[in-house]
Homo-oligomer: 329 residues x 2
């Protein structure tokens, strides 16, 4: 089977490509080729036993999404997006990349595949940003989408398109609302949600991290490892079982910052925890207070999506996958 | 104040223009001009004491929506759309008119008005088609939008855009999900929902009407008179009170076909009711079984939107407004 990944140069795209290269198969079918597409040059995964095509381009530009589907991939992971903060600051760019890019991809798929039976599975990474406060403490599957950001609006629009194009037989889409990815590898960034990862990743690497909110702040997390599991599962579940509602809130782990820190203490010790410096930031506190804290993702659980078991597990996974098993004590 | 109406040539657009011509004012402010826009030539309302501009055009074509906002109307009623059946049969046309037309209108407004304080109130007619079965018997305000038609998808997308453009200060939008309009004046049409109006309008005018479903079928109705009331109210309510969730399920009247017929009997007598011929149609029965039957529109009620009091009232209003008070006995 052939696979294409948009946003193939991003953190999740790279990890997904590496996992596919390692497995060599998806859903029991041998992988015969992968295309990685991104606005920056993507990197081929090490050890792939199949051809890897690397494409760089501006996804909403004319003809770009046609290139992506030219060799009729069986599964397309559509991860490419600009992030929430950038979409909020640059209104036109956000709609162009996050909405128009997805719309063009759907149109290219619609026209490039000749019969409904051949339509590819399109796995679309949506976001819990489709929900906007106020909402219940545990957001049920049936809750309305009233985003409070342009990013959330763009994701909600793409979810609607995904369902409609699937209903019409133009594609076989599954949209997954990923929890916040934690512990996110790499450098600290300026995203308002960055501290959830920073307070784990930086102390484990011997660096100080700033905590701008109180320990009672609750949030919804999934490890990068769980996220890759979600993507592979979404690529292979039976569309008939999913039914016409093609977008799912995925399971995650709802923990407070205090519970994150307690887990870090259990796994890595007090010396590591001491590297977290409290520096309350009312601006970030206000943003975070509007975010979803917990979900009741009955449908995704029934469909077999699996969350991390504990935040201790999330930290262990980070130490294994990113730090070669070693913590800076 | 200046007013523009897209879909100004349609049934609701005409009635709205006539009402505005009669009132001469909206929300206590004198009307100084109205623009009616449609794909077919609209007709100026009789007796208007202000200039009426009649524009004909293809709304999503380049520059069209710029023309609409060139004289900076204070209130824009955006009623233009192609109907559900046509949007389902003609996928590209549906997205072009119902989505792209609205998107271009929002963009034109965003760029034509220089400050947020001057932004016009945009009243957008959405639809209960944004909801798709299964849903609760009474759909609450918080229920998710999972449309099962392209028309419902296009309306749901426009709702999301309306909220986001309003949140950013580009427009002052209110979206209203109209119930099915009943009794719809004019000729019987082939819309699957047509029978709800046909079984009242045709017998009252001395003609036979076909009832393709059972009397236990329940549906959600508003008279044309109530719909005009909704539009005027939406044009003048305080946006701050509405808050960031700019789209509202409006109040309606939830009645069964049997209750419709009983009202017709009370108002017009058995001889009129006898003109309804039962001719069950499994195809229409199936379509109708997926439609919303009842709502719990708490927000719209709290904001002062008023439904018809009874189906008897709906029939009385039709006889007054469309039949000059006379029923064919």
């Amino acid at each position: 089977m052939k696979i294409a990944i948009t946003g193939g140069g991003g953190m999740i795209g790279r990890k997904l490509a590496e996992r596919l290269a390692k497995d060599g198969a998806l859903g029991g079918r041998k992988i015969t080729g992968i295309t990685l597409y991104d606005v920056v040059p993507p990197v081929a995964p090490a050890g792939a036993k199949f051809p890897v095509q690397l494409l760089t381009g501006d996804m909403p530009a004319p003809g770009e999404t046609d290139k992506l589907v030219a060799d009729h991939p069986d599964v397309i992971f559509h991860l490419a997006a600009i992030v929430s903060g950038e979409a909020e600051l640059e209104f036109d760019k956000g709609y162009r990349i996050n909405f128009e890019g997805t719309h063009r991809l759907l149109e290219s798929i619609r026209h490039a595949y000749t019969s409904a039976a051949q339509k590819p599975r399109l796995v679309f990474t949506s976001s819990i940003a489709v929900f906007g406060a106020p909402f219940p403490d545990k957001i049920p599957d049936e809750f309305q989408h009233t985003p409070l950001t342009s990013y959330g609006t763009q994701k909600a629009i793409c979810e609607l398109l995904l369902s409609d194009y699937t209903r019409k037989g133009f594609v076989d889409g599954i949209g997954i609302r990923l929890p916040t990815i934690c512990v996110r590898p790499g450098k600290p960034n300026k995203a308002a949600s960055g501290f959830f990862s920073n307070i784990c990743r930086e102390p484990l690497a011997g660096h100080e991290a700033v905590l701008p909110v109180g320990e009672d702040v609750r949030h919804w997390h999934a490890s990068p490892r769980a996220a890759i599991g979600f993507l592979l599962h979404a690529a292979t579940i039976d569309g008939e079982t999913v039914g016409p509602r093609r977008n799912l809130s995925l399971p995650g782990l709802s923990v407070t910052v205090g519970e994150q820190i307690a887990a870090l203490r259990r796994v890595a010790g007090e010396a590591v925890v001491k590297r977290i410096r409290r520096e309350p930031d009312p601006f970030i506190q206000k943003i975070v207070s509007g975010w979803a804290r917990d979900f009741d993702p009955k449908r995704a659980l029934a469909l077999g999506f699996k969350a991390d078991a504990s935040f201790d597990d999330i930290i262990h996974a980070h130490i294994e996958d990113e730090l070669g098993g070693k913590v800076v004590a």
